[in-house]
């Protein structure tokens, strides 16, 4: 049976895409990704999850996010590395990056800043803390 898609649905979807800000969540833990998605969705954001930090560039090229939430402690490629590489790439360096990590010392924050991160949220965070950081950029 063919699916009937009404013109108004397509229009709504296009409208939604125009209004909603897309947030790419990069975290090796699916539970954390799901949680952040759950926290952002009710606020009108369009969260997209990615568990493999090696595929960040590919995901950005496909999704064109307005903001990236990046975990730091990840296997294969840590968040500091990802951030540094994104910020040195002219194609991606205009996208704000917020590091979302359990690394909470002053030196970690400083190092994150040195890698070009635009924001820093330490885990565990409250819903308000996360939203406050996200709203600064999207």
């Amino acid at each position: 049976m063919a699916a009937h898609v009404q013109f108004s649905d397509v229009e709504n979807c296009a409208e939604q895409m125009r209004v909603q800000k897309k947030v790419l969540i990069v975290d090796d833990s699916p539970a954390q990704v799901k949680l952040i998605q759950g926290l952002l969705e009710p606020e009108g954001y369009w969260p997209v999850g990615l568990n493999d930090p090696r595929r960040v560039e590919e995901a950005i090229a496909t999704e064109r996010p307005n903001l990236i939430l990046l975990d730091v402690v990840m296997p294969e490629r840590n968040g500091f590395q990802v951030c540094r590489e994104l910020k040195s790439n002219t194609e991606f360096n205009s996208i704000p990056v917020i590091l979302v990590t359990s690394k909470d010392t002053a030196s970690d924050r400083y190092w994150g800043q040195q890698q070009g991160a635009d924001g820093y949220v330490t885990k565990p965070f409250t819903r308000e803390e996360l939203l406050r950081a996200v709203r600064r950029f999207a």
């Binding site: 954390q32 949680l35 002053a106 965070f125």
Partner: protein, 227 residues
């Protein structure tokens, strides 16, 4: 040499008096205890760092030496009898022989000083080894705690976040479930506070350590610092 003990074992009162008197004019004086061969076994010598054996009654030397531990540092002040000394040296590798000549007190003090300094250095080295082992254990514990902190924070993020998500739509929950989720949320926040207190304590300890290190380096680098 302040923390070292010397036992003078002799039946010759003049030997003990002279040696003690010479030691007392030295800059650093160890703890000195004098015993005769008669009370040697009964005396509480509390494991001396060095034993100076002076003239003893006939036949007592062999008895006395037999009852000593072979690893005790020993200075024997006696007329040289090559045959007997060779045997004693074999049994007591740390034995030093000082012939009873005119300058024997100076020689004894010199040898004793070196021996006690060595003992003291060994004590310090052992203490440093003990501390190093203790610090290594603490470092392992610290690393473990640091790793655990990361896992704990991740777990707390899920706990706190999911509780908040459920509390966003309280309509679908029974009053009891709502109260239980609120409790979970409150407890997660409390654990978070405890974790943050641990973190700030660790930072304070690190800062204190750095500060004391800086002060120590400053004192050591001051040319006129009192030693």
């Amino acid at each position: 040499m302040r923390n070292t003990n010397v036992l003078i074992l002799t039946d010759d009162v003049e030997f003990a008096r002279l040696l003690t008197a010479c030691w007392q004019v030295e800059r650093q004086l160890p703890g000195i205890c004098v015993v005769t061969s008669e009370f040697w076994k009964e005396a509480d010598t509390s494991s001396p760092d060095l034993i100076v054996v002076g003239p003893l009654k006939d036949g007592k030397l062999a008895d006395v030496l037999r009852s000593m531990e072979s690893n005790t540092a020993l200075i024997l002040c006696a007329p040289s009898e090559a045959k007997e000394l060779a045997l004693l040296r074999k049994k007591y590798p740390k034995l030093l022989h000082v012939p009873l000549r005119e300058d024997w007190t100076q020689v004894v003090l010199l040898l004793a000083g070196e021996s006690l300094r060595r003992t003291e250095a060994l004590k310090l080295a052992r203490k440093a080894e003990r501390h190093a082992a203790q610090y290594a254990n603490e470092a392992t514990l610290g690393r473990y705690m640091y790793d655990m902190k990361h896992n704990m924070n991740n777990a707390l993020t899920s706990l706190l976040g999911n509780a908040e998500l459920l509390l966003l739509e309280p309509g679908g929950l029974s009053a009891q479930s709502l109260a239980q989720i609120k409790t979970i949320h409150t407890m997660a926040l409390r654990i978070n506070e405890v974790m943050q207190r641990f973190s700030s304590l660790a930072s304070e300890l690190r800062e204190g350590e750095t500060q004391s290190q800086v002060e120590t380096e400053e004192v050591n680098s001051t040319p006129n610092s009192r030693r």
